[in-house]
């Protein structure tokens, strides 16, 4: 069997593992050969590999940001742990892991501990939904994009829970800002996605990506939608210039003021998990995902793991733009942020839907090619 997808790897490992146990303890060989058991174990292995890969990528993303931000600021960034500071974040994580996590006396225990945990877990769920390459994530859901956005919008709930239960004024203000900001920016994001759906005719991320391969002027009708989506994502990720909920100049650390040790690490990690997932989402929706346009030589896309390579390359480039923005822009104020969201982005996103619909009606543009019609 040619191993081409992650699912194949997981299945192979599960079979090998159970076969090994069966050989060591012969009486167990027959029950362990059960197909359901192998499939179940394969699913677990699949999840474990996915989790490990996404965590490592998240940590590499932090490294990438630190190094790139360092260059923008005329310094080097982390240099000492590992080659060019590659292991610095692992060292930082271990340090946080060793720290005592304490809870303020009047904080609500359940919300205080459950909030960050749920925040991290729901953020990680994103990687179960996002297809990273053909066959990487098995079973393409017909509504996977919608599911991804739903999972993405869990965050303000848990942020607000942890902020409220911290029993700290800064946390509470930060949490309320966070909730207001994320809810305000959900709307333009969803409307921008509608434009994508109109052009691709599908809610399935796999289909959306595959459509883009054949239709290389994809970004033309969706330029406006992409601008709106990227801006909205910037706010959803709470990155500068929209990082008001944790504006450290006035709110100390915003909603995670009272958190230390591993719970703080959960927040940091979840922030970058969301940043990674958001960047992947942008690449999937607007930049062709793991595919390259069909006129690109096949050699560029035919090497092993080419899909993942191109997807990650594009993801890091998109994130690089976010880092660039962070290095260059100050932070806006809450009322300005909400005004940008409600009064600029929502009209723009509506306009983007109209533009996308117009392109679908025209269907074929000379020279450029034909729009994949609604529903194929």
């Amino acid at each position: 069997m040619a191993i081409t997808t992650l699912w194949d790897v997981a299945y192979f490992m599960a079979t090998a593992l159970l076969g090994l146990v069966g050989r060591i303890i012969p009486p167990l060989a027959a029950p362990l050969g059960n197909v359901d058991l192998i499939w179940g174990l394969a699913a677990l292995v699949f999840g474990a590999i996915l989790l490990a890969a996404s965590m490592i990528n998240t940590i590499m993303l932090i490294w990438f940001e630190r190094k790139m931000l360092g260059r923008f600021m005329d310094r080097r960034g982390a240099m000492h742990v590992g080659y060019a500071g590659l292991l610095q974040n692992f060292a930082d994580g271990l340090k946080l892991f060793r720290k005592n996590t304490f809870k303020p006396r009047d904080a609500d225990g359940l919300g205080f501990y459950a909030g960050p945990t749920a925040y991290l877990v729901t953020s990680l769920l994103m990687f179960g939904v996002l297809p990273v390459s053909t066959g990487w994530s098995d079973g393409s859901l017909p509504l996977s994009m919608l599911l991804a956005l739903v999972i993405f919008s869990f965050a303000p709930l848990f942020i607000f829970i942890s902020a409220w239960s911290s029993n700290n004024k800064y946390s509470l203000i930060g949490g309320m800002r966070s909730a207001a900001q994320m809810i305000a920016y959900e709307v333009p994001i969803l409307l921008a996605v509608v434009a994508v759906v109109v052009v691709s005719g599908s809610f399935d991320l796999n289909t959306i990506v595959n459509e883009q391969r054949n239709f290389w002027f994809w970004t033309l009708p969706l330029t406006l939608a992409m601008i709106v989506f990227v801006t909205g994502m910037l706010a959803e990720m709470e990155r500068i210039p929209f990082d008001l909920p944790e504006a450290e100049a006035e709110l100390v650390e915003g909603w995670n003021t009272e958190y230390g040790g591993m719970l703080f690490a959960y927040f940091m990690l979840a922030d970058y998990v969301r940043a990674l997932a958001g960047s992947i989402l942008i690449v999937l929706l607007f930049l062709g995902g793991w595919t390259l346009p069909s006129y690109v030589p096949a050699a560029l896309t035919s090497f092993p793991l080419a899909g993942i390579f191109w997807l990650m390359l594009k993801t890091y480039l998109v994130f690089g733009v976010f880092v660039w923005i962070r290095a260059a822009l100050p932070r806006v104020r809450t009322d300005q942020l909400l005004r940008i969201g409600w009064m600029r982005l929502i009209p723009l996103s509506l306009a983007s839907v109209v533009i996308a619909a117009a392109f679908v009606l025209v269907k074929c543009v000379p020279v450029l090619g034909c729009v994949p019609s609604m529903g194929g």
């Binding site: 931000l69 923008f72 800064y170 203000i173 504006a247 260059a328 822009l329 100050p330 932070r331 104020r333």
Partner: protein, 381 residues
Amino acid sequence: MSEMWINMGPQHPMTHGLWNLRVRIDGEMILDVDPEMGYLHRGIEKISEDRHYNEVITLMDRTCYVAGMAWEHLYIQAAEKALGITAPERAEWIRMMSEEFQRLASHIMWYAAFVQDLGLMSPFLYGMRDRDLILDLFQAYTGGRLTYEYMRVGGVRNDLPEGFPKQAREVLDWLEPRLVEYDRLCMGSDIFRSRCDGLGVLKESDCVRLGVTGPMLRSAGSKRDIRKDRPYSRYSQVEFDVATADAGDVTGRYLVRMEEMRQSIRIIRQTLDWLDHHPGPVIADHLPRWLGAPYAPVGREGYLLKRNYPKGVGLSAIEEPHGEACAYVVNEGGEHPYRVKFRSPVFANLSACSHYLVGYRVADIPPIMGSVDVCVGEVDR
């Protein structure tokens, strides 16, 4: 949400030092503010009474830790007036150059801290990088980077080392394009403008009434600058313009400080040219030993008779990077000043904060307070 008081400080990223801003807020709106200062009080004025005149200089560096040279200059002027000593010409020019370098360093430090409050990290590091070059210059001729102990009653400790003018000019040549870069990063950014325009407005009449001085006063349209109005040192012999703005808001203070940096560079260039052509002594001859000697010569009773000392009162005012600072030194005869009193510009600027904070939003506190350029060391003294 109902009204509540929040304490911004004493340990809060906005304060840039050790003070507490109590803010009564309703949602995001500021209803009332109450600055609490004194966390960093070291009794510098009282300690000065127990020290020899030159030993007070050490305390001056610690009064404002980002503008040590300016405070040394302030104290030295008052002390020289009180003691009836004059410094040689070259020493005066070196002092003036030092003060302008200090103004540059202080304003760059302010710029770095101010933009960082707005969430801009890169200019912060650019500022720190460029300030380091000025600190290198200080190190080249005083040996210290923050606490110099360089000026002396009757002159300065030592002359400029060989090659210093060249090094200084190189730094200035590097800094000038950097200032343009700073400006482009801030004034070229719409977000920066929307965060700063029309915030923290304090009108000229209010500034005068409240004793607010320095860039805050000039940003409101006033042209008051002690360097021009009551020239001290050799400021009457150099050419420079007083930087002003009209709005009296955060942007105005930003513009005034940026322009002041350019003017400082202008002054320093003229000073360096003068120093090139006028060698000479940098400290007066025949200074009494008790001025700076760690152990003063003592008489038979353990101290010199008071009548042997000169008496006098010295009052000086300088345009410190943060505003107008005054020093009052009373010499009742003796090895130590009888009384030393300072006027800190930041203390007045900060005390007026209810006049320029109320009515704005919580998110406006960092840019507004950042534009005040708080140095807690000189507030509390």
